[in-house]
C-alpha cells in the first residue's frame, strides 16, 4: 500500500572509492569540455588547428565523455545502492583501475598514434586508415575501450550478485511481485529498482559491445576474418545507445535519494513507478534502431520498431520520473540550495532534451535531420543539463558543510551561468540542425559559422560555471566522507 509518510534515512558520507571516482570524473569532464570548446572554436573559424587535430580531439571528446559520465553515474549508483545491498569495495576499485588503464591506452592511441576514427569506431574505419594511423594504434584504442568495458562488466556482475542475494532475483529487484501481483508496499526502493534495470541492460549492452570489439580486433590482424558491416553497425549502436542511456538511469538515483530528504516526502516504488522501470528496461534495449533509420538495407519492421519505441520511451521519463519530481517539490517548502537546485533542474534537462530526441526518431524527420547538429543538440541537453547536473548536485550534497550552510553568491551565479550556458549552447546546436548543418565537420561553410560562434560563447559560460562547481567540490572533500545531516529540512518542519 502506498504510504505518504517520509521515513528519515541518515545521510551517509562517501567511501574513499566514491570520492576517487568523483575526483577523476571532475577532472576528465573538465578536460573533455575544453576539448568540446576547441572543436566549436575551430568550426567558428576562431582557430585553425586543421582536420587531423579536430578529429583526434573529437575522438577523445566522444570516448572521454561517454566513459566519464559512466564512471560518475556508477559512483552515484554505488554510493546509494550500498545502503541496501552488500557491495564489494574491491570490485568497485578494480573498475576504476581498469578504467584508468583504458584511458591511458586511448590517450596513447590518439595522441601518439594519431588514431581518429571517432569514438563509435564504426567498422571498417578503424582498420581503414589510409595510412594516417597504424594497426597498432587502432588496436590500442579498441583494446582500451574493451578494458573499460570489462571493468564495468565486473561492477555490474557484482551489483547483480548483491541484488540477487538480498532480494532473491533480478525480477524481484525490479519489483515484479508487487508490479504483477498484490502491492504489499514491500517493493525494493527506487535505488534498487534503478540499479537492477541498469545492471540488466548494461550487462547485455557491454557483452554485445565487447563482442564486436573483439571481432574487430581479430579482423585488424586477420583480415580474412570478415565482418558484415551492417551487423557491426547494429552491434555498435546497440552497445553505445544502451551504455549512454544507462548513465542517466544511474545518476537519477541521486534525485530519488536526495530530493525526498529536502522535501521530507517519500519517493515510493508503487505500481506505476515499477511499471515504468520495467518498461524502460525493455525499451532502452530496443530503441537503438533509431540510429539506423537511414540504413534501408535493414528490414522495414526493424526501423519501425525504432520509430515507435522512440515515442513510447518518453512516457516513463515525462509521466513518471519527471512528474514525480515535480510532485514532491510542489508545495513542499523546499529550501533551495546548490544541491536541490541542480537536482531539480536536472529533471528539467532530461525531460526537455527528450523532446528533440524523439522527434528525430520520427522516420520522416530523420530523413532530413539524421547526422545533422540536431543530434548532438538533443543529447547534450539531456546529458549536460540532465545527467551532469545530477552529478554536480550529488557533489554539492556530499560537500555541504552542514544542513543550514548558505551558498555563496558565486555558486548561485555559477548555477545560473550553467543553466543559461547549456540552454544557449544546445539551442545553437539544435538551430544548426534545423538549418541542416552536418555533424562531425572540422570545417564549416560560412553560412553556418554565426551559430558556431554563438555556441562557443555559451560554452565559455558553462566552463566558468563548471570550474566553480569543481573547485567547490574539491575544496570540500573533507566533508564528503563524514556521516551527518546534509539536506536542509523543508521550511515548516525546520521551525517545529
Amino acid at each position: 500500500m502506498a504510504s505518504y509518510t517520509y521515513t528519515p534515512v541518515p545521510d551517509t558520507g562517501a567511501k574513499a572509492g566514491v570520492l576517487a571516482y568523483l575526483v577523476v570524473s571532475a577532472v576528465v569532464l573538465l578536460l573533455m569540455m575544453v576539448f568540446g570548446l576547441l572543436m566549436r572554436l575551430e568550426q567558428s573559424q576562431f582557430t585553425s588547428i586543421g582536420g587531423l587535430w579536430f578529429y583526434k580531439i573529437m575522438t577523445l571528446h566522444g570516448a572521454g565523455m561517454v566513459g566519464i559520465v559512466a564512471l560518475a553515474g556508477a559512483a552515484v549508483m554505488w554510493h546509494f545502492l550500498r545502503l541496501y545491498v552488500d557491495l564489494s569495495n574491491g570490485i568497485f576499485m578494480a573498475n576504476l583501475a581498469l578504467f584508468l588503464i583504458g584511458v591511458v591506452m586511448i590517450l596513447a592511441s590518439v595522441l601518439l598514434g594519431d588514431f581518429h576514427a571517432g569514438w563509435t569506431f564504426l567498422f571498417p574505419l578503424p582498420g581503414t586508415s589510409m595510412g594516417l594511423w597504424s594497426t597498432g594504434a587502432a588496436a590500442l584504442f579498441m583494446g582500451g575501450l574493451l578494458i573499460i568495458g570489462v571493468g564495468f562488466v565486473l561492477l555490474h556482475l557484482d551489483i547483480a550478485r548483491a541484488i540477487i542475494t538480498r532480494y532473491g532475483g533480478l525480477g524481484r529487484g525490479l519489483g515484479w511481485p508487487q508490479l504483477f501481483g498484490h502491492d504489499d508496499g514491500n517493493a525494493p526502493p527506487p535505488t534498487v529498482v534503478a540499479s537492477t534495470m541498469v545492471t540488466i541492460v548494461n550487462l547485455i549492452g557491454l557483452v554485445v559491445g565487447a563482442s564486436i570489439l573483439v571481432m574487430m580486433l581479430v579482423n585488424l590482424y586477420v583480415p580474412s576474418f570478415e565482418i558484415d558491416p551492417l551487423l557491426a553497425k547494429g552491434m555498435i549502436y546497440f552497445f553505445g545507445h544502451v551504455f549512454i542511456n544507462a548513465v542517466i538511469y544511474m545518476a537519477v538515483i541521486a534525485v530519488y535519494e536526495i530530493l525526498p530528504r529536502y522535501t521530507q516526502r517519500p519517493w515510493k516504488s508503487n505500481k506505476v513507478f515499477l511499471a515504468s522501470w520495467t518498461a524502460s528496461t525493455i525499451m532502452v534495449m530496443f530503441i537503438f534502431p533509431h540510429h539506423l533509420l537511414m540504413d534501408y538495407a535493414y528490414p522495414k519492421w526493424f526501423l519501425i520498431v525504432g520509430h515507435i519505441i522512440g515515442y513510447l520511451n518518453t512516457f516513463p521519463i515525462l509521466i513518471v520520473t519527471g512528474y514525480g519530481a515535480m510532485m514532491i517539490v510542489y508545495r513542499s517548502g523546499i529550501r533551495w540550495d546548490m544541491c536541490s537546485r541542480l537536482l531539480f533542474v536536472s529533471l528539467f534537462g532530461w525531460a526537455v532534451g527528450a523532446m528533440p530526441a524523439f522527434i528525430d526518431g520520427t522516420i520522416t524527420v530523420n530523413y532530413v535531420m539524421h547526422n545533422t547538429l540536431w543530434v548532438p543538440g538533443h543529447f547534450h541537453t539531456y546529458l549536460l543539463l540532465g545527467m551532469v547536473a545530477m552529478v554536480f548536485g550529488f557533489m554539492y550534497y556530499l560537500g555541504k558543510p552542514n544542513e543550514n550552510a548558505k551558498d555563496s553568491p558565486i555558486d548561485v551565479a555559477a548555477f545560473w551561468a550553467f543553466v543559461i550556458g547549456t540552454l544557449g549552447f544546445t539551442m545553437s546546436f539544435l538551430y544548426s540542425g534545423k538549418i541542416s548543418v552536418p555533424r562531425r565537420y572540422a570545417e564549416h561553410l560560412p553560412e553556418w559559422v554565426p551559430y558556431d560562434r554563438l555556441a562557443s560563447y555559451f560554452i565559455v559560460l558553462i566552463l566558468a560555471a563548471v570550474l566553480v562547481f569543481i573547485f567547490r567540490f574539491l575544496s570540500r572533500l573533507g566533508f564528503a566522507s563524514r556521516d551527518y545531516q546534509r539536506a536542509s529540512l523543508a521550511r515548516s518542519l525546520a521551525t517545529t
Binding site: Y296, T314, Y323, M326, R331, Y431, K434, P438
Partner: protein, 178 residues
C-alpha cells in the same frame, strides 16, 4: 520538415519549461498533508497521460504512413515516368556517380554504396537544406527515390564520419529541364 520539427520541439520544450517554472514558483509554502496532494496529483497525471497518449499515438502512426519512398516497395512517383537512375559509390574521400545531371520534376532512383568505409549521401538543395539522405555502406546498396522539385545545382555532402577529409567529401547534382 525541418521547420516543423523545430517548431514542434520548441512548443513541447516550452510546455515542459512552463510546468517546471510553475512548480518552482509554488514550492515555497509547505502543504503539510501530503496524502490529499498526492491523490489530486495522481488524478492530474492520469489526465496528462491520456492527453499525451492521444496526441503522441496518432502523431506516431501519422508519421509512419507516407514514409519517405525508400521504405516503400510501391515507389509512388513511378506513375509519372521511368525513374532516372544514379549509381553512387562513396570512396575516401570522394563520390563516384555515373551521372550528375537529372531532370527536374522526374523521379530519380539513387543507388548508394561504398567502396571502403561508411559514408552518408546527403542531398542539399540550392538553399543548402538537406532534402534526402541515405547511408553509403560497403557490401550493401541503399536506394532512395527522390524527385527534384526545383532546377539548380544541388550539393552532396557526406553525412557519416569517414576520416580526416570527411568535411571535404562534396560533389554536385545538376537539375534542369530536358
Amino acid at each position: 520538415m525541418q521547420e516543423t520539427a523545430w517548431q514542434v520541439s520548441l512548443v513541447l520544450m516550452s510546455l515542459i519549461t512552463f510546468g517546471v517554472i510553475y512548480v518552482a514558483i509554488n514550492s515555497g509554502k509547505r502543504e503539510e498533508d501530503y496524502g490529499p496532494l498526492v491523490k489530486s496529483a495522481y488524478g492530474f497525471r492520469t489526465k496528462l497521460f491520456w492527453t499525451v497518449a492521444l496526441i503522441f499515438f496518432p502523431a506516431m502512426i501519422y508519421n509512419l504512413v507516407g514514409l519517405p519512398l525508400p521504405y516503400g516497395e510501391s515507389r509512388a512517383d513511378s506513375k509519372i515516368g521511368p525513374a532516372q537512375v544514379i549509381n553512387v559509390i562513396g570512396h575516401m574521400w570522394y563520390w563516384e556517380m555515373d551521372r550528375d545531371q537529372v531532370e527536374v520534376g522526374q523521379p530519380v532512383e539513387i543507388r548508394i554504396t561504398s567502396a571502403d568505409v561508411n559514408h552518408g549521401f546527403g542531398i542539399y538543395d540550392t538553399d543548402l537544406h538537406l532534402v534526402a539522405q541515405a547511408q553509403a555502406m560497403p557490401h550493401y546498396t541503399n536506394v532512395i527515390y527522390h524527385t527534384f522539385k526545383k532546377e539548380g545545382t544541388y550539393r552532396v555532402l557526406c553525412m557519416e564520419y569517414c576520416g580526416v577529409a570527411h568535411h571535404n567529401m562534396m560533389t554536385e547534382i545538376k537539375v534542369g529541364k530536358s
